[in-house]
């Protein structure tokens, strides 16, 4: 009975934000003291996603940035982390990886903004992606360092002893074994990029309008219905990734 009660309370607490945001995204005229908006309509969704192409463009732009960043970082950090993990100076390299990871992205952006402005990269999608690389690449390396261990190193040497070349070592042994870690890295770096606000705003100087910036814009305009709608859109890809992770990755690799 106690477990049942706990589950109910927990479910309510967890689902409440999603419920509130969904209700608001379909609402209009939410005057005090009404608990629910006076009108429910599809107009907010229709207006923002079909009539005003701004939000659709932001969704597409955010997806492009986050997918590109996570794919690139996953690929790069897989190889770099291997060299770092088996390096004599492993601890020193990892220390370097941790610095940008803990440094507040918004302060980092404020300090590197000068260089981006001088090089003409500020306000461009490429500039924002490069800046996001500064924080996601070290994070990818931190994720992969727990993957590379002595057992893998021995396995790599065994393949070489049995006559396998580097290509075969990677395609037949290391990459199949790393599938779980690769997916975790892809998901995590996607989330960092997808959720990023401060760094994107400063390096993008307001011109690179990702979905997170749109939420802030609607909040500042006091348009709670549009902000709720953009919030729902912002939560959708992570929920999808979580579902994929739980349904396929977690079951298969754990």
């Amino acid at each position: 009975m106690r477990k049942y009660f706990f589950n109910i309370i927990l479910s309510i607490l967890i689902l409440l934000p999603f419920l509130v945001l969904t209700v608001l995204s379909f609402g209009r005229n939410w005057t005090h003291p009404s608990v629910l908006p006076a009108t429910f309509t599809f107009d907010n969704w229709r207006t923002l996603l079909l009539t005003q192409s701004d939000l659709s463009q932001s969704v597409a732009l955010s997806l492009f940035i986050s997918i590109s960043i996570s794919a690139l970082v996953t690929l790069l950090s897989f190889f770099t982390s291997k060299f770092i993990s088996f390096s004599r100076w492993r601890r020193r390299w990892l220390l370097i990886a941790y610095f940008p990871y803990v440094f507040p992205p918004v302060i980092l952006a404020a300090c590197v903004q000068y260089y981006f402005l001088r090089l003409g990269w500020a306000g461009s999608t490429g500039g924002v992606m490069l800046a996001q690389l500064f924080i996601t690449y070290p994070f990818g390396i931190i994720i992969f360092t727990s993957f590379w261990n002595e057992r893998l190193h021995n396995m790599e040497q065994l393949v070489a002893t049995l006559g396998g070349n580097t290509w075969q070592t990677y395609t037949r042994v290391l990459l199949p074994m790393a599938k779980g870690a690769l997916l975790v890295c892809f998901f995590q770096t996607f989330l960092i990029s997808w959720f990023e606000y401060g760094l994107t705003r400063l390096i993008g100087v307001g011109k690179v309008q990702t979905l997170t910036l749109k939420v802030f814009q609607y909040v500042n305009e006091a348009n709670i219905f549009y902000a709720a709608l953009a919030s729902i859109l912002l939560a959708m890809p992570p929920i999808l990734l979580l579902w994929i992770n739980k349904k396929f990755v977690f079951v298969k690799f754990n």
């Binding site: 790069l76 770092i84 370097i96 610095f99 302060i107 690389l133 959720f195 997170t212 919030s231 992570p238």
Partner: protein
Amino acid sequence: MNIIRLFNLTLFLLTAAVPLALALGYALLYSLGATGVLNEGITLVNWYKTLINNNLWQSIGYSIYIAFITMIIAIGLALWAVVRHGNVFRSGYTAFLIYLPLTLPATVMGFYSFQLLAKSGLLSRLAFQVGLLHDLAYFPILINDLWGVGIIFTHICMATPFFIILFTNLYHNENLKDFIALAQTLGAKASQVTWQIIIPVLLQKSFATLVLYFVFIMSSYEIPLLLGSQSRQMISVFTIEKLQRFNLQDIPQAYAISVLYGLLLIILIINLLGRSK
């Protein structure tokens, strides 16, 4: 192979270490008056002004206060949930559900808290409907307040599920079940098992993660930007506001704060990684 290794490590340095070094270097030069539009030669005046600025120390203190209260409550809730209802998070729909809050970014959680806790928010409306509230003016100020209630609430909402997942995984990875069984065989009471085995092991094993999370809360930007007050600001908001104010004289001080905070974090990480090995 050596070329590939060299390429990888160089690329890593160029994207991880060099930008941070350039950022801190530029901030240091600006704060010392070596660069910047209004600076007239090298000077320590900006650093002096920064270090005697009460608002800076107040901001750091406020950030520590927010992070500390959040961590205490979130860790307490997570430990209680894992110790009392640990199995709930291992199987069934709740094992999936507990991951859901992690899909909401700080911006969205801040916006949700605003809609929930503001004077005209959902809580005040519900209180009005059930007769607990008759006038909006009597609803407590929970948003943009001096004590950062809204900020703390939002961070707790984000941190607690994360800690529950962390502690649940540790509970099983560290074979705590076996330790508990052994302790009970030796005559330990339930409270002794909780306070002398489960909680110390979970906290010790997660120490590095907890310290990093503490730093993340201290450095958070979006949530205090949305829910914080103007008179008390967390360190990231304080620094960025100083940088973007109309008063150009504040900019060198903002860079000095960035360097100072950056150095504090670097010292913390060196100590933390040194301790964890």
